[in-house]
């Protein structure tokens, strides 16, 4: 039972990551391979605020959102100069830069040593120390994230995103300053990723830069593509599959280290297979051509 709660918490966190990345990759057609950076910024910001300034989790979460969103604004502005494959490469570059900063700004982040003893959220005296209550909390945020994403997708803005993905120039001809639209969704997605990061930090109570590398970005991307581009439920489905799978591997008795690498092997292979045979993923509405 405990184990189930644990998996569901991870699933919720990755669900938020996948939903947010889907908004950027699936709906807007921007191949962003830097999502882990915003995940990490949210995690570190929340952690540092809670530990160094003794702030409440929820307040730290909010401020963390500002940090991930702000960074996304800057990165997004530079990325807006690129298209397609150059966009992907540049975004990878940013992931590495952010990771480097996490690793090397040791006075702030303690570098590779990481930051331990991150407290659980508490509100009005109630502490979410128990995993069950934490699960409820994070599921709640997952649902909110989903609802917000759905609202965006169903609005006129959502339609514009899809049009940008299909043909950006034609979208401009019909009066849209597409740069602003792309930047906006990029920032919104980054903020959501930051929230996921805050929960991650609080849950595992220890963070270090190694979680937020480009490998993680590729993993989140594979969840999104597997579940299906431009389908929010697909994002959730993808997260469910790719989180449950490796946990199942652990049951097979594989030592921890190999289990982690096996997960990577699996999603690497899945990515290739998807590109070859099913670029729209399981229930996607859009395929990478």
């Amino acid at each position: 039972m405990d184990y189930l709660v644990h998996i569901l918490i991870l699933f919720s966190i990755y669900g938020m990551l996948a939903i947010s990345l889907n908004l950027v990759v699936g709906y807007s057609g921007l191949l962003s391979v830097t999502h882990a950076a915003f995940y990490g910024i949210g995690a570190y910001a929340t952690t540092l605020l809670m530990i160094n300034l003794d702030l409440n989790f929820f307040l730290s979460l909010l401020i963390g959102m500002v940090f991930s969103g702000g960074t996304a604004l800057l990165i997004g502005l530079v990325l807006s100069k690129f298209k397609d494959d150059f966009y992907a490469i540049a975004s990878l570059g940013f992931n590495v830069i952010v990771y480097s900063i996490m690793l090397n700004w040791q006075t702030l982040t303690r570098g590779p040593l990481g930051i331990p003893a991150i407290p659980r959220p508490s509100l009005f005296g109630f502490s979410f120390f128990g995993n069950f209550w934490f699960l409820i909390l994070v599921l709640f945020f997952l649902i909110i994230t989903y609802l917000i994403a759905r609202s965006i997708v169903n609005s006129s803005f959502g339609r514009v995103l899809k049009a940008i993905r299909e043909n950006e120039l034609a979208t401009q001809i019909f009066g849209y300053n597409t740069k602003y639209f792309k930047l906006t969704i990029f920032v919104i997605a980054a903020v959501m990723a930051g929230v996921a990061g805050s929960f991650f930090a609080s849950y595992v109570s220890f963070i270090d830069p190694s979680t937020f590398t480009m490998h993680e970005s590729i993993f989140i991307l594979s969840i999104v593509i597997l579940g299906g581009l431009a389908n929010l439920r697909g994002a959730v489905l993808g997260a469910f599959i790719l989180i449950i799978l490796p946990e199942a591997l652990r049951f097979l008795g594989l030592p921890n280290e190999i289990a982690a690498q096996s997960r990577q092997l699996i999603y690497g292979v899945i990515l290739v297979l998807l590109m070859l045979y099913r670029p729209q993923g399981l229930i996607g509405e859009f395929k990478l051509k």
């Binding site: 494959d85 590495v96 830069i97 480097s100 590729i218 990577q264 690497g268 292979v269 990515l271 590109m275």
Partner: protein, 285 residues
């Protein structure tokens, strides 16, 4: 002085990676991020044959190169060629190459563990050379020399051989090349194999120089990508120059800032070039 030497050596390693990468990019016009995995494959194959099986070192290196080339051949045959044939966009190809990179490197990690391994023989201490006050190891000299030789060799082949002109024709315009009767599939296959072998060689040398880890390929690859973009994607000579420039910027950069920032500096350079000069120093617009 040591700084200058280090820059040259770093540049040489990046040059080796970028030579293969650029060759593939110039003909296929996509960023094959799985290229880095070939380096890892090469290095670990040598490790397997020499350390685990105890085979003669030269033979192991030969195997390493062959296996790297073979894996490169496979990735093209199974993944990239079919995708390109159905007209996949560069984004699909990049995603597929990311998948391949991840899969191959994790497979290696499973087979060989993530621990740091070294190819060099512990008994024999590396011969050291003293040049104008700086120190380089024998391996490092080998790295430098081989990168120059391979670069010159490649340039010669491209300029003076039939195969080379076919490659240049494809780089220029693949459709036209097909029309004038060039067997583009065969040429591209050879390009992939040759590129992968060069990458394998760089992985092997790295194994001797600094050691092996399953993710060494990814690191090398990223530097290779940066070198290519700085020097001009698709231009063999340009890529090499970009590689050396990168080596210099990194090493001199860390003279002022501490060495852990090396990667960030490298990627900062990448972003700057992408924004201001995406065709690189020598590339055409």
């Amino acid at each position: 002085m040591q700084l200058i030497l280090n820059s040259f050596i770093a540049g040489s390693i990046y040059a080796l990676v970028t030579l293969g990468f650029n060759l593939i990019y110039s003909t296929t016009k996509f960023f094959n991020l799985a290229h880095g995995a070939m380096a890892t494959v090469g290095g670990y194959t040598v490790f397997y044959f020499s350390k685990t099986l105890g085979l003669n070192i030269l033979l192991s290196v030969l195997f390493g190169l062959l296996v790297a080339g073979f894996v490169g051949y496979l990735t093209n045959k199974i993944v990239f060629k079919p995708l390109r044939k159905r007209g996949a966009t560069n984004m699909v190809l990049i995603v597929a190459s990311l998948g391949l990179l991840t899969a191959i490197e994790s497979l290696i990690a499973i087979l060989f563990s993530s621990q740091f391994q070294t190819l060099s023989n512990n008994q024999v201490t590396q011969k050291l050379f003293h040049i104008f006050g700086g120190v380089v190891t024998q391996t490092q000299i080998l790295i430098f020399i081989s990168s120059i030789i391979i670069m010159l060799g490649l340039m010669f082949v491209l300029k003076y051989t039939l195969f080379g002109s076919a490659v240049r024709a494809i780089s220029d315009d693949e459709e036209v090349a097909k029309v004038i009767g060039i067997d583009t599939d065969k040429i591209l296959t050879i390009v992939f194999v040759v590129g992968s072998i060069i990458a394998g060689w760089s992985g092997i040398l790295t194994g001797f120089d600094t050691g092996l880890t399953p993710i060494l390929g990814m690191g090398l690859l990223l530097k290779g990508v940066i070198s290519s973009i700085v020097g001009g994607v698709g231009r063999v000579g340009g890529g090499v120059l970009g590689a050396f420039m990168l080596g210099f910027v990194e090493n001199f950069g860390i003279w002022y800032i501490s060495s852990e920032w090396k990667d960030a500096i490298a990627f900062g350079v990448l972003i700057l070039f992408l924004v201001f000069r995406p065709h690189g120093i020598f590339g055409k617009k």
